[in-house]
């Protein structure tokens, strides 16, 4: 089977602190008049991401004021299935007319266990982490603060991985009409592989994907010798008769239609012994294993389900279109981190700090072991 990295489904419950040092320190610069005036029946929270030149609009469903405790909690619906809670920490003035915002936190939560909800939440978290400055704006209560979120690059990277899986599930749902419920315990490597395969079948129809080997049963005769020899000599396993391909994804059978594939860097495993067995020429079935040197094959699924021309709402499409920019921002951060390891060093210092250590014969001894005693026992110290 293909080897994939298992991706655990991220939790969207942790509170993201904006300017954590400011929570008990300097003001974020916002002072709200109390009681909150002009709050209409449907106020909005606007979250603006200047780095990406975009913003999100979220309908506020509740403002909970615990002013004496220094907390204002604002709950919004970001999208179907995604709730957002903005928690403002601050101080009420002595005369009780103003609330100074000292810090803020955002908490996202899924109210619907669907790929689309997960996708929106993952995109939001990635945006928060990669945007640098984020502007939070609620015109109705006079809130207008700009700050940054403290999310590690590793966390952001994991969000983008989850986002990719979410998007692929959305594509499969949209093309097949199925509705997936997200698992609570992440995906197995095999599930990630099936999701990837179905996604490419739908979006590409002809694509390169993992294939470790093909097992063929062929009678022991001269014709089989010719076929097997041709495969090994040409390195090409021609297309086999089509078979109906179905992958099981989150408990649903995803029918992908007839499938064929070819291996373009094929070789026959144990070629000489296979030839010897085929040369018996008594017609008995011989198992022939054909492998790909690159562990892949070109798949053709011409009748796989298709996406409609405009599969997403404008809001979702806008989030989908952010992918390349999110990737670029993340990679730029990592590249800067790598470059920073040599920053401000002289050429001599760089040469020294990048010099490889010379390893002697004991370099790979396991710490604390006695080489002589291991050799006596025939042990392997490497």
């Amino acid at each position: 089977m293909a080897t994939y990295i298992e991706i655990a489904r991220p939790s969207y419950q942790p509170v993201q602190i904006i300017n954590p040092n400011d929570v008990s320190g300097a003001s974020l610069g916002a002072t709200l008049s109390v009681p909150f005036r002009g709050v209409t029946s449907e106020p909005y929270l606007y979250v603006e991401f200047p780095t990406f030149a975009c913003w999100l609009e979220a309908s506020i469903i509740e403002i909970e004021q615990q002013l004496m405790s220094g907390v204002v909690s604002i709950q919004v619906t970001l999208y179907d299935g995604v709730a957002l809670k903005l928690i403002l920490n601050g101080r009420l003035s002595e005369d009780g007319t103003e609330f100074s915002v000292l810090g803020a936190a955002l908490q996202t939560a899924l109210t619907e266990e669907r790929p689309r909800s997960d996708f929106v939440a993952a995109t939001l978290n990635a945006l928060l982490g990669l945007s640098g400055k984020v502007r939070l704006h609620i015109p109705e209560i006079g809130l207008d603060v700009e700050s940054s979120f403290d999310i590690s690059l590793l966390d952001i990277s994991q969000k983008l991985q989850a986002r990719q899986t979410d998007y692929r599930l959305m594509v499969i749902e949209r093309a097949t009409g199925l509705e997936f419920v997200m698992p609570t315990s992440g995906f197995s490597g095999e599930e990630i592989g099936d999701i990837s395969f179905a996604y490419y079948a739908i979006t590409e129809r002809s694509f390169i994907h993992v294939l470790n080997y093909v097992q063929l049963l062929t009678p022991a005769n001269q014709e089989s010798i010719d076929i097997v020899s041709a495969i090994d000599k040409s390195g090409v396993l021609p297309s086999l008769p089509p078979k109906l391909e179905t992958r099981t994804i989150l408990g649903h059978s995803v029918r992908l239609g007839p499938q064929t594939y070819t291996i373009e860097d094929a070789y026959v495993e144990n070629f000489d012994s296979v030839l010897q067995e085929l040369a018996v020429a008594d017609g008995h079935e011989v198992s022939v294993t054909v492998r790909s040197r690159g562990n892949d094959a070109v798949y053709y699924l011409p009748q796989a389900p298709q996406l409609p021309d405009s599969p997403w709402t404008p809001e979702i499409q806008a989030l989908v279109d952010l992918e390349s920019r999110l990737d670029a921002e993340l990679v730029d951060r990592y590249n800067a981190l790598a470059a920073a390891s040599l920053a401000n060093l002289t050429d001599e210092e760089i040469a020294a700090v990048t010099e490889r250590p010379e390893l002697d014969e004991d370099a790979f001894l396991i710490n604390g072991t006695d080489r002589n005693s291991n050799q006596d026992e025939g042990g392997d110290n490497t």
Binding site: A2, T3, Y4, I5, S157, L160, Q161, R163, Q164, G193, S196, F207, I208, H209, V210, G294, N295, D296, S324, D327, A328, L330, V331, Y334, N335, L337, A338, A339, A340, S341, L342, A343, N344, L345, E349, A352, V353, T354, E355, R356, P357
Partner: protein
């Protein structure tokens, strides 16, 4: 580029040569890192040997010029010692 295009979906690691080129911001490795992230939504891993060798350079420098360590602030490192 010293490596051929990998099969799709294959996780890769960065060896010490590539890691050094990455630290020197060589354009080819920056492009490869960008492409890898675009496809797999992750960065290639550093092998333990790569980390060992990178840390070895730091230790050697520290042992040869300890005064430098005190004379200036240490640059940010993407490695945990």
């Amino acid at each position: 580029m010293p490596i051929e295009p990998p099969p799709p979906g294959t996780s890769l690691v960065v060896d010490n040569d590539l890691f050094q080129d990455w630290r020197f911001s060589q354009p080819y490795i920056l492009a490869e890192i960008r492409d890898y992230q675009s496809r797999l939504k992750m960065l290639p891993a550093l092998t333990s040997m790569t980390v060992f060798e990178a840390l070895g350079g730091l230790r050697m420098w520290k042992s040869r010029a300890p005064f430098l360590m005190n004379a200036r602030s240490w640059p940010a490192m993407p490695l945990n010692n």
